[in-house]
């Protein structure tokens, strides 16, 4: 399955990743060779095989239902590049819908 420049730009958009125009061709060829290798899985008949989504860990115990302190507002904002009025500042945005 070949991957086009359009595909790359579309996935980048989904991944909220702006790409420099000179990066696109390189990433396209990287992904093409990786996907070619991945096609190898098509050799295997997996019909009826249960997918492994996560590894089974013995029943996770319930935690005690007690109140524990969370992060203070101050320490939650301590590393924010732009805190404002006790929150994280973001540019104004509108719903695209």
């Amino acid at each position: 399955m070949s991957i086009t420049r359009e595909n790359i730009l579309n996935i980048a958009k989904l991944a909220q990743l702006r790409l420099e125009s000179d990066e696109v061709a390189g990433l396209q060829s990287d992904l093409a060779s990786i996907l070619e290798h991945i096609e190898k899985l098509g050799e295997l008949d997996t019909s009826g095989i249960q997918p492994t989504a996560h590894l089974v860990v013995d029943a996770a115990p319930m935690r005690m239902d007690v109140v524990v302190p969370g992060l203070s507002n101050e320490s939650a904002l301590a590393e924010a590049p732009r805190p404002r009025e006790g929150g994280f500042a973001v540019p104004a945005f509108v719903d695209e819908g």
């Binding site: 996935i11 990433l27 992904l31 290798h37 989504a53 115990p61 994280f88 540019p91």
Partner: protein, 501 residues
């Protein structure tokens, strides 16, 4: 004082507890080693003050007659992906560095990872943070924003990765032990390529709370050390259920150090032919075979086993791991922490895009794109679901093998440590070098890498390390420590690099 960093940590901690040496003196020796070996680029964040303060407080408590912990005064280096209160945590990435007026400043976690907290409770000295492939994505520590770490056996070669800095800290005798994380081999492979012991615990054995997430269903934190017993002691300290990580098992924790003293007679070792096929370097093959023969002479029973889906491990892993990564790395967006790139008038999406473009390196972008692609509408069944099904087949391979044997022995890496830059422009070749380590993560097994005998020096290259990998059933790290420790005794201990910088 240098030799303090070369003795087993049980002995070092005992000397500190007895007052034969102060924690401050040990800390000073390790800080000097960090400075003397800075050309290896093993550390990315260090601090004299916090380390010396911690050491003096341990010495004061001893002077007052208070009991000290199992790691009293033992210097530990921590991979830059594991959160620490007293050092920045940046995952080898620009995106976790915030530009301030004067300089770039690494992100500071508001909490210690559970493993770091457990080390501190046992009076370990947290020496600093070690270099790594950006977000643990790489097999050579070359994708770090801080530049590559060099292999102390031959500085023109890679140390392996992604936990290359932690492997080198131990191999170069800067700290006697360190912590790394293993998502697809990132502890075992650099341990093998640097000639040290590296343990990847079973999935669920060690808390991941405070480990910056890459592939959540695959990764575990584990120790590096210069001897098997020291690695066992660190694992005993960090293992166990954690209420902050619901995937940690409630199993009781065996005495891993005690397992180092057991005999190997009668232990059944599986030799998977798929790990000894085409592509395996002849020097690696002969050194690994020598160690296996020695174990046979010591009473282990060797048995051929088949892991028929091994060849599909790379493809399966690079679907599962990138899918998980594309989701986990969505949190780095310029809003709550780290880098933020915005232009006047830019909207929220432009802020996200510009920040992630400037903050992530090429390998991370590649994996985010691949992960997003395999999860996207129309491709999910063909890639992600298919990979999860093959993951089941790979697990079954191991389940069947472990019906017949107690552990599996194999090489760690198909090659000797390769030259810096050799695979930088060929991501698939880099991925294929992980062929022997990935299946363990997909199946949730435990694994250890211990040094086989290093190769002999030739006119073209110095002596280089080779790693022997031992894989065990989930939650059977004890067998790994028993077999690894037996080999360590048989070969007379693991040598330090001959080309010390």
């Amino acid at each position: 004082m240098r030799q303090l960093l070369e003795i087993p940590i049980s002995e070092l901690a005992e000397r500190v507890r007895q007052g034969e040496v102060t924690a401050e003196a040990v800390a000073t020796a390790s800080l000097e080693a960090i400075a003397n070996r800075s050309s290896l680029n093993a550390f990315v964040h260090e601090s004299h003050e916090s380390v010396l303060d911690a050491a003096r407080s341990i010495d004061k408590r001893r002077a007052r007659g208070e009991p000290l912990g199992k790691l009293a005064g033992v210097p530990v280096a921590i991979k830059d992906a594991i959160c620490t209160l007293d050092f920045p945590t940046t995952c080898g990435s620009r995106i976790l560095c915030r530009a301030t007026k004067s300089k770039s400043q690494g992100w500071r976690s508001p909490f210690d990872a559970t493993v770091v907290e457990r080390l501190r409770v046992q009076d370990a000295l947290i020496m600093g943070k070690t270099n790594m492939d950006e977000f643990a994505m790489g097999s050579s520590t070359e994708t770090s924003a801080y530049g590559p770490t060099l292999n102390p056996w031959d500085p023109s070669r890679i140390p392996g990765g992604s936990s290359g800095g932690s492997a080198v800290a131990v191999a170069a005798r800067i700290t006697p032990v360190s912590l790394g994380s293993d998502t697809g081999g990132s502890i075992r492979q650099p341990a093998g390529l640097c000639g040290v012991v590296g343990v990847r615990p079973s999935y669920g054995r060690v808390s991941r709370y405070g480990l910056v997430a890459f592939g959540s269903s695959l990764e575990q934190i584990g120790p590096f050390a210069n001897d098997t017993r020291s690695a066992a002691r660190v694992l005993n300290v960090i293992a166990g259920h954690d209420c902050h990580d619901s995937t940690t098992a409630v199993n009781s924790i065996p005495n891993f150090e005690g397992a180092c003293d057991r005999g190997v007679a009668g232990i059944r070792l599986g030799i998977p032919e798929e790990y000894f096929g085409e592509g395996l370097d002849s020097d690696v093959r002969s050194q690994v075979n020598e160690a296996i023969s020695a174990l046979e002479d010591a009473g282990c029973e060797l048995k051929k086993v088949h892991l028929p889906h091994t060849a599909y491990g790379v493809a399966t892993y690079y679907i599962v791991a990138t899918a998980e990564a594309s989701s986990n790395l969505a949190r780095f967006d310029g809003v709550r922490f780290g880098l933020r790139v915005e232009c006047p008038g830019s909207d929220l999406k432009e802020l996200y895009g510009a920040t992630r473009d400037a903050g992530f390196g090429r390998e991370v972008k590649r994996r985010i794109l691949l992960g997003t692609y395999v999860l996207s509408a129309g491709y999910y069944d063909a890639y992600y679901k298919k990979a999860q099904q093959v993951r089941t087949l790979i697990r079954r391979d191991f389940e069947q093998a472990f019906n017949e044997v107690d552990a599996i022995v194999a090489p760690i890496s198909p090659t000797l440590p390769f030259a810096l830059g050799q695979h930088v422009n060929d991501p698939l070749a880099m991925y294929l070098s992980d062929v022997y380590t990935l299946p363990c993560n997909l199946a949730g097994l435990c694994g250890i890498s211990v040094p086989a005998r290093p190769t002999s020096a030739t006119s073209e290259r110095p002596s280089l390390p080779v790693g022997l990998q031992i894989l065990g059933r989930p939650f059977d790290e004890e067998t790994l420590f028993t077999v690894a420790s037996a080999w360590e005794k048989l070969c007379g201990g693991f040598p330090a690099p001959s080309v010390a910088p």
